[in-house]
């Protein structure tokens, strides 16, 4: 079998051994329902509260401000709808950006149908939201600002601290989808004036199916799931104890040495970008040149289509992702790539490589080498490349 090179860490990450070890007892002997008053229940409850402290510590929050959810998507849905419904009488205006994850975009779209007004801030060519634009978009009706911490496709890191400052000065609730950023960037909800923050464990070597929402004390928010009294009556449903324990352990590990991790990953990323851009003509780096996630390299290759690229990479043992329509399940390429101004045909030919803990310099080199070969091959069968050659562009 060909060796596999996993380069899609922004999609998901493998579970760390230490995390699994911490979880296993809560799947087997310590199976108690955390709502039960007897010993088994108390053991589960204790484990949940330990995890809550671990999550709080990782983002500079208090443990009573952390609520567990079933996913990052649920956390986003809850934050946005919960605040919108709680403050609807105060105003119905929400500010977001054009490059949010669908968990945010589709949620505000659903609210628009219910009569809320949404401003979708544009981004610059690097995918950056301007704090000034946020400020100018605020009206007397504005109740919520929701801007992602780091973009999942192109890795651009948003000016969260500046936006937080503006939101706080104007007294508007500020939510950030930090699903990509946790464990990759230093986060301090106090210093950054963040009121709500979504995260999910599987992006930082924790299990899938467990996320959390940070809700600053005093923020008005409607409960999202009706039922029992779990999560202080705000999010019903028997707790996923093993998942919560895994999230706690994973976030603790992921936030111990962020600087060291960034240094290692950015070296790989920069080497890979340089190799690809130098060796393959008609390429474009998407996202910000410096204010980007250390793990992320998103490059467009002109004249070729992303799914074909992914299939050929897969045959070489490489796992990556693309913003092409064919991989998005619709006819349009990624909304993020269109928002930064890429024409459709170039957006179709984008490739996102995201490095992680297991990535090596050899991996980066192998991916670049494979791309040189694959891109040449696909261009040789592309009518767009043929046209470019005939018109003298190439």
């Amino acid at each position: 079998m060909t060796k596999r090179v996993y380069a899609d860490h922004s999609a998901t990450t493998p579970l760390k051994k230490e995390v699994l070890d911490a979880m296993v007892p809560y799947l087997t002997e310590n199976f108690g329902n955390a709502s039960s008053i007897y010993l088994e229940g108390r053991e589960s409850k204790k484990a949940i509260e330990t995890a809550r402290e671990q999550v709080a510590k990782a983002i500079g929050a208090q443990s009573n401000e952390i609520y567990f959810t079933g996913s990052g998507t649920e956390a986003d849905n809850w934050a946005i709808k919960g605040v919108a419904y709680a403050l609807a009488e105060k105003g119905k205006h929400i500010i977001t950006s054009a490059v949010e994850h669908h968990a945010v975009l589709h949620t505000v779209k659903a609210l628009e149908k219910e009569g809320f007004k949404v401003t979708y801030l544009p981004v610059d060519e690097y995918g950056m939201v301007s704090a000034e634009d946020v400020k100018n978009a605020i009206t007397d009706e504005t109740i919520l600002i929701t801007i992602m911490f780091a973009n999942n496709e192109i890795g651009t890191i948003m000016p969260i601290e500046e936006i937080g400052k503006i939101a706080r000065e104007k007294g508007i609730i500020f939510h950030t989808d930090a699903v990509q950023a946790v464990g990759m960037e230093e986060i301090d909800v106090e210093k950054m004036n963040i009121d709500l923050l979504s995260l999910t464990a599987h992006k930082f070597y924790g299990p899938k199916g467990i996320g959390a929402l940070y809700i600053r004390k005093g923020v008005k928010i409607k409960r999202f799931i009706e039922g029992g009294a779990q999560e202080k009556n705000k999010r019903a449903g028997t707790e996923n104890v093993a998942g919560i324990v895994g999230l706690g352990k994973a976030i603790e590990l992921a936030t111990t040495d962020i600087a060291g991790k960034k240094e290692k990953l950015s070296k790989l990323r920069d080497f890979y970008i340089k190799e690809v851009m130098e060796r393959i003509p008609f390429t474009r780096l998407n996202g910000h040149p410096t204010k980007r996630m250390a793990s992320n390299a998103n490059i467009s290759f002109e004249f070729i289509e992303g799914e074909s690229l992914l299939l050929m990479l897969d045959m070489k043992g490489i796992s990556a992702s693309s913003g092409s329509a064919c991989t998005s399940g619709s006819l349009d390429p990624s909304h993020v790539l269109l928002a930064i101004g890429l024409p459709h045909e170039i957006a179709h030919g984008s490739l996102r490589v995201t490095f992680g803990d297991s990535s090596t310099m050899e991996d980066a080199k192998y991916i670049a080498d494979s791309l040189v070969e694959i891109v040449t091959r696909l261009r040789d069968m592309s009518p767009l490349y043929e046209d470019a050659v005939k018109s003298g562009r190439v």
Binding site: F303, E305, E307, P333, E345, H348, M381, L384
Partner: protein, 149 residues
């Protein structure tokens, strides 16, 4: 997700390339939608047999595989036989396509029709009656509207 046959035709596409002295060229699809197919044919004026066929495709795995299979299916066939090759037949020959990719098989059929229409246009013959209208305007170079009216 893709059948073995699709992967085979994607990995080793048949008939990729250009024909310098082609007498029938079809170009369908558009870069906005993410797939374009250009097909070149050399048609024998006497026998109306497609003696040579080549293609170039910008598109996903299914687009490349259907292009490859469609060229195989029309090579050595007469114009009449080539026009009878449907998108479904191409998809079936590939052991099926995922439902979201069925539209890719239209590309190949449209390209064949477009090339044959070009062949007649070059000879000064109105292709509408022969090629027919498959709903693709490019296949008959805008004759679609006229036929509708």
């Amino acid at each position: 997700m893709y059948s073995e046959k699709v992967m085979d035709h994607f990995t080793n596409p048949r008939n990729v390339g250009e024909i310098e002295d082609a007498n029938a060229v079809g170009n369908v699809g558009n870069p906005k939608c993410g797939d374009i197919m250009k097909i070149y044919m050399k048609i024998n004026d006497e026998s109306e047999v497609i003696e040579e066929v080549k293609f170039k495709t910008f598109g996903c795995g299914a687009a490349v595989a259907t292009s490859s299979m469609a060229t195989e299916m029309v090579k050595g066939k007469t114009i009449e036989e080539a026009l009878a090759v449907t998108n479904l037949a191409v998809a079936e020959a590939l052991d099926g396509l995922p439902p979201v990719k069925m539209h890719c098989s239209n590309l190949a059929q449209e390209a064949i029709h477009s090339a044959i229409a070009d062949y007649y246009n070059r000879k000064g013959i109105d292709p509408t009656g022969i090629v027919g209208c498959n709903g693709c305007c490019e296949a008959c170079h805008g004759h679609h509207d006229e036929e509708e009216e």
